[in-house]
Symmetry: C2
Subunit: 152 residues, 2 copies
């Protein structure tokens, strides 16, 4: 157990939340990743988010390399916001949130299911131990200080 | 692609974020899950979060069944906040955020590593297709309407 050494600034989950932990951030990423949204008006319409909030989030994503802004192919005056590899790599976060919501907050069944593009198979996240190769249920994992832990 | 049917209220990721998307929420869950925190003062000290915010989050977690409040074994006047199975099941969300932060926001290496309790092996999340059994990198997954999708 890490106890008091588990400080906020020294944790990758906390660093991730600094970039994507604000209200709407992960829903914007979700729309870009799975909803086909690229334009300001598409995000705005899909989410019903205030335009100043949406603009601030997109700017943060661009400044931090999660998205790139480019001209729309059919209209040079329209900007499109597309995920970079760093942004796309948030896919497991979105899928983990969705899976949890499906299990605990979807009495009518999963509203959205995720499938493998190439074979249409259902996909799931699993936590696996590299040593014993077991698939681990919640509670089988401990956190210990790693190479990037600041001393003191 | 879901396009306009991908509405906020009809998505399990959005429902999950309603419960754990506020500032501090996932860091509180992380401290409960991996940092050994159980008491109000332990969360407060570890996070440096304002006590009124912490109290509101813990109350939300209890009201929604993510935590239970119980008397401390050594002092009946002290409350402890412990994760329920529903709360503990957020483990993949915390681990997905941590893994992303390790890859993109940890220049000095992972500050914290996660290990399998029983064999000390490193653990990792993977996205797997149930049909072809392939492990999928980001971008290989599509979202389609599921059984719980509201029509109209």
């Amino acid at each position: 157990v890490l106890g008091r050494t588990y400080e906020r600034e020294n944790c990758s989950a906390a660093r991730a939340l600094e970039l994507v932990g604000e209200r709407w951030s992960l829903l914007i990423m979700r729309d870009a990743m799975f909803g086909g949204a690229r334009r300001f008006t598409e995000f705005e319409r899909s989410l019903g988010v205030a335009s100043n909030v949406l603009a601030a989030r997109l700017e943060l994503f661009i400044d931090n390399g999660l998205m790139q802004s480019q001209r729309a192919p059919d209209n040079a005056e329209v900007r499109e916001y597309v995920l970079t590899p760093k942004g796309l790599d948030l896919e497991p976060v979105i899928l983990a949130l969705s899976a949890w919501g499906d299990r605990w907050a979807a009495p009518g069944g999963a509203p959205i299911v995720y499938e493998h593009k190439r074979c249409d198979g259902p996909v799931h996240l699993e936590l696996r131990c590299d040593t014993c190769a077991e698939s681990l249920p919640p509670g089988e994992t401990v956190a210990i200080p790693g190479p990037g832990m600041k001393s003191g």
